[in-house]
């Protein structure tokens, strides 16, 4: 029982804290939430110790058992998620200010954090699925938060796509027969029959809905702009990664990367991800509303991860994981910047960002770092991820991979096209531009500094991270 308690602590602690905040009288609760998130970060360490090896198995019926354990991949995602939530919550303290409804935001964010911790600790597909649904439902109020018709419709769309995606996963799990019950682990060489392949495709497509791959990416550009900035940062940077984790678990821990190599689901997913990479960037390039542009950008960038992963090689998985880290850093950072622009200058559109380098120098400096990282310009981390992905694509060598590499380059160019003009006009607004300085406060800027620092430092010294990911990847194959 002790083992289970320690394992469940990262789940229960934020969940209980969230409930506490929700049930308490309305008022300031940012500090409590930040504290809870920080404690959640700390509870990862004992959970990692006690969850090693077999983990805990709870048998409900003969066919249905829940497994909780902490393997390397899960630990990595836990650390990433907890840290990102903490930063977003710190930011939210200033962003939400004295908003009366803020307990709803903080409470549900913490509960989402709990669900996501469970997701990372899940040891088989059924457990994963449970926490996945939990997360979808608990993050729903975050989209609804700002109220109004637009938010209602967006939240409805978010829910609809989530439920549809989850139903695909469920269908796949039923179709897959015995496979989803097994504990996650290295999958031996075996030939998958047509039914199993379809099962995998359904599961992967279901999870890809959360990860924003076409044809089910449409909820992102609707839901992200209406949510408050810290929530859209988490939705875009972190919650979408749950879909990525789901695909990874299904592909490499249930069906087996080697078994999937060369099959039709692999081709389908590669083609879809390549199409999404291009379409997302292109739409972002044409989009004028800033947060929507970032949402489209996420659609594109997340498909980099799916592309790398579906190459089904250790190098590809390593590249995908690097992209997970650096996309999270950059995209969370960009949404936080967008929030700062909205909060302090009430700027929603790209055209309004003229001279932002003078109006909000600190925020704009951070924005520049994130933009460079997202494009993949050294010394920022996006470059390392892109390099690894490209090496993996060439190593795999199939026609889809080769095309993907070219599309990756085009997409990088488009990324530069939709982010750098903001930097250019922000710093060089033209002669005679005058504006007041209204920079973000410490609670806003600090998370940005941390994220930008992480993107730069991990980009310059990625060796430790990369070797960790190589270990993870080689354990899968």
């Amino acid at each position: 029982m002790m083992q289970l308690f320690i394992l469940l602590l990262p789940v229960l602690l934020p969940a209980c804290a969230g409930l506490y905040i929700l049930l308490r009288r309305p008022g300031q609760c940012g500090r409590t939430a930040c504290l809870a998130a920080l404690l959640c970060c700390l509870t990862i360490f004992p959970a990692v110790r006690s969850g090693a090896g077999e983990g805990v198995r709870i048998e409900i019926t003969y066919f249905l058992s829940l497994i909780l354990r902490a393997d390397r991949l899960g630990i990595f995602f836990m650390a990433l998620i907890a840290a990102a939530f903490f930063l977003a919550l710190v930011y939210a303290c200033e962003y939400l200010g004295r908003d009366k409804r803020q307990p709803v935001f903080f409470g549900f964010t913490l509960m989402t954090l709990g669900a996501m911790m469970g997701l990372c600790l899940a040891g088989n597909l059924i457990t994963f699925y449970m926490f996945f649904e939990l997360m979808s439902l608990l993050s729903f109020p975050l989209v609804l938060y700002s109220g109004g018709e637009e938010a209602s419709l967006a939240a409805m769309k978010y829910l609809g796509f989530s439920v549809f995606g989850a139903s695909l996963v469920l269908m796949g799990m039923i179709l897959g027969g015995g496979l989803p019950i097994h504990a996650f682990g290295r999958v031996g060489q075996m030939a998958l029959d047509a039914r199993q392949l379809w099962a995998f495709l359904l599961i992967a497509l279901g999870f890809s809905c959360k990860a924003g791959m076409m044809p089910m990416a449409n909820w992102l550009p609707t839901a992200h702009p209406v949510a408050p900035a810290p929530a859209s940062a988490l939705l875009s940077g972190i919650i979408t990664k749950a879909g990525i984790l789901g695909m990874m678990r299904a592909a490499f821990y249930v069906f087996g990367g080697r078994n999937l190599a060369g099959t039709f689901p692999q081709t389908v997913l590669l083609v879809l991800s390549i199409a999404t990479i291009f379409a997302g960037s292109m739409l972002a390039y044409k989009e004028k509303q800033f947060k929507k542009r970032l949402a489209y950008s996420s659609v594109s960038q997340l498909s980099y991860v799916i592309f790398g992963m579906m190459l089904c090689t250790p190098a590809g998985v390593c590249g995908a994981l690097l992209q997970v880290v650096f996309h999270a850093c950059a995209k969370i950072g960009l949404f936080l910047c967008a929030g700062a622009f909205i909060h302090h200058c009430d700027v929603h559109n790209v055209d309004g960002l003229l001279g932002m380098g003078r109006r909000m120098p600190r925020v704009m400096a951070a924005f520049t770092c994130f933009a460079l990282s997202l494009i993949g310009i050294p010394p920022f981390g996006g470059f390392a991820a892109k390099w690894q992905l490209a090496a993996a694509a060439l190593e795999q060598g199939s026609a889809a991979a080769q095309t993907g590499l070219v599309v990756l380059m085009v997409s990088a160019l488009l990324t530069a096209g939709y982010l750098l003009p903001i930097v250019a006009r922000g710093y060089f607004p033209g002669e005679g531009f005058k504006a007041k300085v209204t920079d973000g406060g410490p609670a806003m800027v600090l998370p940005m500094v941390v994220l930008a620092g992480a993107a730069a430092l991990l980009g310059i010294f990625p060796a430790g991270l990369a070797s960790f990911f190589r270990t993870v990847a080689s354990a899968m194959f």
Partner: protein, 641 residues
Amino acid sequence: MLMKTEYLLPLCVLLPMAAAPVVYSLRRRSARLGDGAVTLVCLAVLAAALYLARMPACRLAVPDLFLQGVSFASGGVRSLFGLLCAFMFTMSSLADPAYFRGEPRCARYDAFLLLTLGGILGVFYAGDLFTLYICFETMSLASWVWVAHNETEAAQKAADTYLAMAMIGGLVMLYGLFRLQHMLGTLDLGALPELAAACGDRQGLFLSACCLLVGFGIKAGMYPFHVWLPKAHPAAPAPSSALLSGILTKSGVFGILLIITCLLWGDRRLSMILLALGTVTMVLGAVLAVFSVDLKRTLACSSLSQIGFILVGAAMLTTGEETALAAGGIVAHALNHGLTKLVLFIAAGVLYKHKHTLDLNELQGAGRSCLPLKICFLLGAMSLAGVPGFGGYVSKTLLHESIVEQIHLASGSAAGLLEGVEWAFLISGGLTAAYMTKLFVKLFVQKPRSAGHPVRIDKGSLTAIAPAAAALLLMGLRPAQTYEKIAAFTAESLRSAPFAVHYFSLENLKGAAISLTIGALVYLLFVRGLLTDHRTGDYVRATALIDLEDDVYRPLLGLTAFAGAFAARLAYSLTDLVVRLGAALMNYKAPQRVKPGEDHHFGRYSKEYVRVGAISQTLQFELMLFGIGVVVTLVYLMFKL
């Protein structure tokens, strides 16, 4: 010895970069302190570069940085370019205080000056193409700030073009690097020549090298990627125009030299490409310069033309046979062009600072009364025009001789082609003489229209340009002791041998004589005849028939983006279409019970408000209950076990 020489290599790169933020804050506090700090850092780097050039070649590898590991190396052409770069930055920084007096946001300029210095030295001292790429990107982005610095409309447009070209070039280059890394397994410049020679996939190697060529060609200003250059160089502040023109273009040339020597040694196709593009660049730049009536634009177009000369030399080097003269010519011309442009652009900056215009007609006679400026400008102009006794003559003679040598080696149509190139070379040389005469006469000989304050050159600017101007003359007088020594120093790194040439023999003087005659004719007949308005004495403003950027590239890019966006939108909206169709089918003739769009508080389907703590909306309340349920279940499970 306590410190090994090779540690100086990363130091050269990192010191300016690390100093940039320090200088930024210093410069904001005090102009003198900031300017002093910039010059000090540049001097330190210059000392290091000098030391590196004097020491034997060395290398340093730092594994694991940026995932791939970086490495640095010195020796030969790298050391020479590094030294030239450090020298030019130092000299240009001396001219800064006078040029930027009273201007806003100089701190930004100074910080990015140092960042660019670090980047460009990294390009020259890179030990592998990966390191080179990283530094190249840093340099491109940092120097973009120079172009945009003035924040005028022209500067903004030029900066946008510059950035777009830099991004495209960088990505094409990166793609080439991916392929090379995959094909050859390494990007180490020391190992590449052997691996590339042994590589079986010639076509793949050639295409990868072409990707690199695009990236470097953009930076060098090679036709048809030159469009940014005549706009960006004039838009930047004068001290940085000197650097953009004089040394940043050389980073592109340096990259092309690496492609030639490390990847495609002796490749005929590359040689032909370089020859064709080089010749076009050479002639086009010169013609544009003759027509231009803007001082800095003339100089920028002249840079194009001079890069064309170097590229023609590079084409001769690529053939891989009898390359000594071509290698020497390239190095000498790169050196001369750098020094010349330093002199000319900073002189232009001095004039601009006094008259606040770059229009040649308005600048008429501006520098007439300032003797030191006049002399320096004259020395630079004579060298650029290739007058015997100046540096430019030596390097052009070497390049010319290398073409002549290749004509002897070639046969049939190839020889005819090369003869055509030789004539293009001589004519371009003539045009160079013509437009430099045009500039000099207008600025320093003709009488000013109105009496104004006479132009004075400040000490800093004079210190910046006088050594370079003097060097061009002194080195030109003793080519055997200077240029040949330098060529011998770099020969091995360019896979060629030292040589000795009689520069002042009749044969070689003939080439210069032809060029200068053509120049005199063009100046007298064309510039003074057709291009001058005889009533006012003004140069006529000629409009170009076609602007490659505005008439071809931008529309093409717009069209591509439109087509791409159309396809993307179509693919993307398919899902929405399916959802709409589904909704229409479901609601077909069915009573619409759920209308989320009409209800302001979506989900509030009970009449009474439920209020617990902060929650007032029922859907959220139910979700909260759900959360409680989950927690209770988990706790129950915990105790059941």
